[in-house]
Symmetry: C2
Subunit: 655 residues, 2 copies
């Protein structure tokens, strides 16, 4: 992102929106004036201390902390560059001196408490019906009382009661007790006449006991830990129903936008790993509490958590140093699945609860992708199917009942608004769909939460580029069509050309919202990475299998995959040219994979088998990588024969 | 214990010594004047705050806390009745008013810090040679490095290296990693060129990893948790050698002398269990540090602790409510052995270390007795053998290669000095051996640490009674022989007769040290319980097996068993009449059992098998219990035919 017009820019995280700073305004004013709702009780007077922001870049351009900040911020917050938005501004002298040099570029992070409107986080998805066979069950038993003639210890009497019910419950012969359970037994047993409910983990461990019949109070939580967003699903393991869902932004975003910057943070800061881990766990614990509160369930009734996440999130969740995932030859510490005690990872469910972490597939293809495979059941498809999970990273899976190949392309960030001048994440005020009238280039759009537009998110960017192509505003090579330069909506600047989507009078940010030539290039790179990645994996697959398979069906997973106009995604050549009815949006498939593994323990065995079956393709070292990538940069592709259904391209100039 | 001469008595714990209070003296003066060394820096001026004592009974007779105490004691210490010995005394007015009523009886507890001289705690014993096969091993492996062609995760490369060495090490195919180990792997692996030492638990879990070859730094600790004393043995698991031993008084003594009063404390106080557990664990952690310091070993190199203790100590160690061991039908929460994570019981060894707790045998026959069985190998004896473990409780085991029976008698406390007027525990100044010249009743004795005598401990009491019998000062029914009443060493009081062992001029306590008629009765009850218990178990055994076996050999275990004069124990009829060469003192056999289980994991399987084999006899409900007990109260027994070797009894009057 280059700065514009020699002005001071302020990147607002975690919504990834770049704003332009006007002399003398506070950051609070900057945000409010740009239409970004910020929570504050005093309305920016410095008397409530609520508008805390973290200055991630450019601290040296700011005024020193004011009296009000000294009062509301702790010493350590001040050391870590926290400020109050209403008290901080860029120093005039700094602006003066900067004008002759490089203009200041700042970056500030708005924590969850201050950001007035929540993100649009995808929590739902298409779930196939699965059988209920959870790893945790509660069984109700009545225990014999001891006598002087037969003074059998508590635990042994419980064992013999279990023996008689064992055949029905599937409980193992060598079931063992957790120490916390043993500690409870003497009193619980005598609380309700030796009638107790036992919580059984993996048919092998008794992890809890309660007086009376509590078999229905048995819960689990499935977590999808994304680089940007966290989602938790509270599920009753007795009936398989989702009781509540809660989501949050990944608070690690404050320490780096993408996985590479998080690895760097963990590597370069002595307590970096500890920090990234603890804020993540804290946030997951808040989600646990939130789901429990809204479903009126006690956290002590949650006995298992199931986790999916990409490899770096996986390591950070487990507090494992991710350094070597980021360095060649890119190895994770482990990729097998894990069963852990919740307290060993500080997850605040039942004290004797467990955590199941899905296996990774490879260094950059994580447990989230395994979740997609599990929930999409791509391994059962008869036709060759492509599944794309577009998050902050993009993962590709190509397979059917016979073969399964996967690869990763770092292409998602443009689609989340990064590197696009007016791009932003899918938050309130983002343009999410857009249409261009080919006759007058008039623009119609919708925004998230129907707020005045302040930027454009991934699905809006794809729509814009597709519509610009259809209106012949762009050529197939991604250049602005010279024919229309001079049109009122096209602005030519020193180094760039821009198409105006929203006039400055129609947006609170008070400058045009545009798509520039460089923005189009960013999208070309992203969609080119997806398409060439798909082609390279397919070639690899066909070469290895000595086959000539083609993709017959596409599953679009993830938040982005869910919100985009799938026809437009095909139109720009991001995905192969297959009939629209063979294009499916499957929602948060990774999260559903976690839910499914929570509900049915057999799927965990399946995940282990899949892990051995799935073949990882390192796309960047494939033969023809450069050539494939360059050809896929064209709209829809250098080779139009690959997109026979897109008749419109006959009329769109190539260069 | 009744008070004497209408005087104020002060029982000093944990040495179980009764002192008589002189008007106006501080407790510091009382202790020092009685020859009990107390640590103090200021010599009793109230300016060092070191002489903290806990007032367990009679707080209301004391002066209110002084300024000095307000300074040196915390609010909560004052609430819990802690005082400074040099600042506290009995209030004069209280003495006045008390004189007309019952004289005050006080009890104060001296914590480890203040008691100047340590207890005599038995730490050694006779150990049979055992094979080295510990549950924790360290193995050194060199791991292949990853390449771009084969980017295998760290853990998987470690697994394949293990595969090649597995046959030699016995490591299981499905070995798993603890999360703490996984967290260490990425950095440790790269610290010394992929050369690492792995700590393997039970051939199944990798619980630690270190860079380089550390195979010799592998330790375990065996604990004997007694009601009164704690002993820890630090053992190198690579070579099987004991590196250091440390012991301490069980700090729970402050909350009750015996197991029943501890159960009551845990039951009646809301945080009682928590308290008894936490002070015990704290003390064990001090022992761990002490053994490590003296052997120059890091606590992180201790990977396993093995625990023996009686059933109540077992429950309190595990923080399990012991209430129901103390109530009919006397059932423990469990009796099977346990493998736990050290951190789940707050034991401060390696963060990923484990604890093994030996199994119990029955409600009042604990893991300590199992330790005795394991170390004595009574189950391999050809001849029928009696093993007696005399601690604060007494446990009896009778068995050989074919049969194993056990029972418990609450008879030990008299032998630890309780209920004996001048009795005390085996601490400095206690008379431990004694001889009486039959011609002039002159007394020769030795004391622990050769200090001036201040009381008499168990072995001294047995010697005294045996010698009094030999001198015909006592009759076989335990009465003082009327013939000698009037002798200068025999004092007749209103309700009691006493034999003077030490003249008041020869002891710092400034009154005669005596053995009274009631003291002899206490000993008769104790020895009668042991002997009748032995007989009843033997009868039970013979009845069940339809046999006519007799005891051919005796093993005396425990501190007391080790220090007593075994001939005198036989002479008073505490143990059956078998030849002296068949009487063995085997020392701290329970502690050695723990050591053996630490060194050889096969012995744990054996303990589980023994648990099923050993038959528990509830002595008090046996037929003829009353009759057997009454007959065994005689010296050596009502039926002299049971003690044919004791020719002296021909000359000792019966009544």
């Amino acid at each position: 992102m280059n700065s514009n017009n020699n002005q001071i820019t302020v990147d607002i995280e975690p919504i990834s929106r770049r704003l332009f700073y006007t002399e003398d305004e506070t950051f609070y004013e900057l945000l409010i004036n740009s239409g970004i709702r910020v929570r504050s009780l005093c309305g920016g007077k410095g008397t409530c201390g609520k508008c805390k922001i973290l200055v991630q870049e450019g601290m040296n351009f700011l005024n020193p902390p004011t009296k009000s900040e000294m009062q509301y911020l702790t010493q350590s917050e001040i050391r870590e560059n926290w400020r109050l938005a209403c008290q901080s501004r860029v120093k005039k002298t700094k602006i003066q001196s900067a004008k002759t040099h490089q203009p200041p570029q700042l970056r500030i992070f708005l924590p969850k408490d201050i950001l007035g409107e929540d993100f649009k986080i995808l929590t739902s998805g298409k779930s196939k019906k699965i059988n209920l066979n959870p790893n945790v069950k509660k069984i109700f038993v009545e225990i014999n009382k001891p006598t002087l003639e037969s003074p059998v210890p508590d635990i042994e009497r419980i064992f013999s009661s279990l023996s008689s019910t064992r055949d029905n419950t599937g409980i193992s012969r060598d079931v063992s007790f957790e120490i916390d359970t043993i500690r409870k037994i003497p009193l619980v047993l005598r609380e309700d006449q030796h009638r107790i409910s036992l919580t059984v983990y993996n048919n092998k461990k008794l992890i809890d006991c309660e007086a009376g019949n509590k078999t229905e109070d048995c819960f689990g939580i499935a977590f999808d830990i994304g680089t940007t967003t966290l989602v938790g699903y509270l599920i009753n393991l007795h009936n398989g129903k989702i009781y509540s869902i809660a989501s949050a932004l990944n608070p690690q975003t404050a320490y780096g936008e993408d996985v590479i910057s998080r690895i760097t943070y963990a590597k370069d800061n002595p307590a970096g790993l500890e920090k990234l881990n603890s804020i993540l766990i804290e946030s997951l614990n808040s989600i646990i509490k939130e789901t429990c509160t809204s479903a009126n369930v006690s956290v002590n009734q949650i006995y298992e958590a199931v986790i999916v996440g990409n490899s770096v999130m996986h390591h950070l969740f487990l507090k494992i140093n991710p350094t070597y995932i980021g360095l060649s030859p890119y190895v994770p510490a482990l990729k097998s699945d894990l069963n852990l005690k919740a307290k060993d990872v500080n997850l605040e469910i039942s004290r004797s609860g467990y955590v199941y972490v899905l296996p990774l597939i490879a260094g950059f293809v994580g447990a989230d992708t395994m979740g997609v495979v599990i929930s999409s059941e791509i391994d059962k498809e008869l036709e060759l199917t492509l599944a794309i999970d577009v998050g902050t990273n993009g993962e590709l899976i190509i397979g059917n009942k016979d073969v399964l190949f996967t690869g990763s392309c770092a292409a998602g960030s443009a689609l989340e608004g990064a590197h696009i001048q007016h791009g932003m994440r899918a938050a309130a005020g983002a343009i999410d769909t857009l249409k261009i009238n080919p006759s007058d280039f008039g623009v119609e759009y919708t925004t998230i939460n129907s707020k005045k537009p302040i930027g454009i998110c991934g699905s809006g960017i794809i729509d814009t580029v597709a519509e610009m192509l259809k209106a012949k505003l762009l050529t197939r090579s991604g250049n602005f069509n010279k024919e229309f330069i001079g049109n009122a909506r096209i602005v030519k600047e020193e180094k760039d050309i821009k198409f105006i989507l929203v006039n400055k009078d129609d947006t609170p940010i008070k400058r045009h919202i545009t798509i520039s030539q460089s923005d189009v290039r960013e999208l070309q790179m992203a969609k080119g990475a997806f398409f060439s990645g798909t082609r390279l994996i397919l070639n690899h697959l066909n070469r290895l299998n000595n086959s000539d398979l083609e993709i017959k069906q596409i599953l679009l997973a993830g938040a982005f995959g869910n919100y985009i106009n799938k026809k437009n995604a095909k139109f720009i050549g991001m995905i192969p040219d297959i009939p629209d009815e063979k294009l499916f949006q499957i929602g948060n498939a990774a999260g559903i994979g976690a839910q499914n593994c929570l509900l049915n323990v057999d799927l965990r065995k399946k995940a282990r088998k899949l892990q051995e079956k799935i073949q990882y393709v390192e796309i960047a070292v494939e033969k023809d990588f450069q050539k494939e990538f360059a050809s896929a940069m064209y709209f829809p592709h250098l080779n139009l024969n690959l997109f026979p259904s897109l008749k419109e391209y006959a009329h769109i100039p190539k260069r």
